[in-house]
Symmetry: C2
């Protein structure tokens, strides 16, 4: 029986997660574009998690969590709530262990994400992102015995996402390049928490920045207040993947210690980053996956002459919506 501990994972937990994921997660490379290097007068290396199994980094954490379920827990099945990428990670990992999965997804989730989840054999229920309490939506399933696989506020999930940080460290060493800055998208903060844990344990001087959409900058404002602050209602954003109500308890406790700061970017800057990724990197990046690249143009991070790794965290976007955004 796995006991849920509301505490940060260790680097050893991240290393164990990497062992579990070896050969199953895609070992994504670092890629760069001379044109973008010239534009920013810096060396920008991109970690394209759009190439990850299920099209986002979320498979890492979901697999790490589900692989540690006991046989009894596997028999009871899992339940998760997710804007779509965690849903696909959970559906894929559950399928690999023959575990039944129920996923609650917001009603504005891109159809490509719902279709992918159903194609992997999970059942989808819908909820209203702005009106419904996510925990209330999944509670009946938990009461019926299913194990909750949380999207971010869980040590095994955070450790799984952190494996991406170990890969960045290994690749930077191979390149013989100094890692000055890491920039990554931030919703509930699971990715940036795992990433910053892995990176800061080895490289204490590296600055790790979180990036959020304007109006959903709960981590930015929480860092400023030094306590967890929720987003105000009434905002919208194209970045469906990272519109969480507030930072997680565990993730914020990690992030307040490790982050250099957080930056909020506009939808227009995000759409421009999607175009830049298509043109210069040949990668299809979804809005929530592109905010790290968008942040480079904000002027809020001093990147000149530095070596910067930018995580492109996901690429699950409906083709028609994508075409509209990059042609604009």
């Amino acid at each position: 029986m796995t006991v849920h501990q509301a505490s940060a994972p260790s680097v050893a937990d991240i290393e164990k997660a990497a062992d579990r994921l070896a050969g199953l997660a895609v070992r994504t490379p670092l890629i760069e574009s001379p044109a973008l290097n010239d534009r920013f007068n810096a060396r920008i290396l991109f970690k394209p998690e759009v190439l990850q199994r299920t099209g986002s980094f979320k498979f890492r954490g979901a697999y790490n969590r589900i692989s540690q379920l006991s046989p009894d827990e596997r028999g009871r099945g899992v339940v998760a709530f997710s804007s779509g990428n965690h849903a696909q990670g959970v559906a894929a990992a559950a399928g690999m262990f023959d575990v039944d999965a129920v996923i609650a997804m917001p009603s504005d989730t891109p159809q490509v994400k719902v279709a992918n989840v159903e194609a992997m054999g999970a059942s989808v229920i819908r909820f209203d992102r702005f009106a419904d309490d996510r925990m209330a939506v999944v509670k009946p399933y938990m009461d019926a015995g299913r194990i909750l696989v949380p999207p971010f506020d869980d040590p095994a999930i955070i450790a799984g996402q952190g494996t991406l940080g170990l890969e960045i460290l290994a690749d930077m060493e191979r390149l013989g390049a100094a890692l000055d800055i890491v920039v990554a998208p931030c919703g509930g903060g699971g990715l940036i928490a795992g990433l910053s844990l892995a990176v800061k344990a080895r490289l204490t001087e590296t600055a790790v920045w979180a990036v959020e959409p304007e109006g959903f900058d709960d981590t930015r404002r929480s860092l400023a207040a030094d306590r967890r602050v929720a987003n105000e209602p009434g905002h919208t954003s194209i970045c469906d993947a990272i519109l969480t109500p507030s930072p997680g308890e565990i993730t914020f406790e990690i992030n307040r210690r490790h982050l250099a700061g957080a930056i909020a970017v506009s939808d227009a800057a995000t759409a421009q980053a999607m175009r830049d990724a298509a043109l210069h990197l040949k990668l299809v990046v979804e809005p929530g996956g592109a905010v790290g690249l968008a942040a480079l143009s904000s002027g809020e991070i001093d990147i000149e002459g530095k070596c910067v790794v930018v995580v492109l965290s996901g690429g699950n976007v409906d083709p028609v919506a994508y075409a509209r955004l990059i042609a604009a």
Copy 2:
């Protein structure tokens, strides 16, 4: 002084090219999509040369050729004709050796390719793909002393493209997977010649297939006739990168010995492959780069239950044209 020899490169030449390119060319990974594996009932591994420096495999051959110029030849500069991807490869490689480059590009070349070439410091002259003789366009520059860097019919170019085959072999060994089939786009045949040389030297049973656009299936018809046959005039295609008039002398001599065959695909099948690459692989692939994936649906290759590597050879497409094709 490099002497041009109209003969096939050896595997040793390809290995030397790989040494020259190490750390300069992107070591592109093999990636796969469970959804596409399911659709084709096969294991499909994609070699995404869209992630290569300059957005296509062409940098490999151009760099390998230009790096072998003598100091005298470097001082005289280079000239090349190219539908756009070879142009970018030549411009990038020439820039790395401070060699002046003049590139002749067809008037229907996507603007993104022209802009990239000029941004890398090369001079562009235009010609009519269907009316002008390419050699006549570049001859005045050769008469003035410039060295021609041919797009495909050159041992050093073929050896450079072949490095992609060595990477596929190494990755397949690491995966412990048998390589049953390799499928790659074919214009003048330089990529498939280098690739088949590298692969068949090690794995004599692996079937290597070339894919061309309908109406530009000169290699397919040349293989059938067992002699070089040119394309008939009057055809058009969205696959600007691979619309060459006829197979090269050296490339055809290699390809007639090594290829399992060649397949012609329609523009509609190519556009569908571009959509599949965006949706399932998160890769921006240009029309000419996507024909290998298109060929899997043709039914002409028996891929069921097999392990297939498909080369996605380039991703240089204007964003607006790209958006129109994938939204259709």
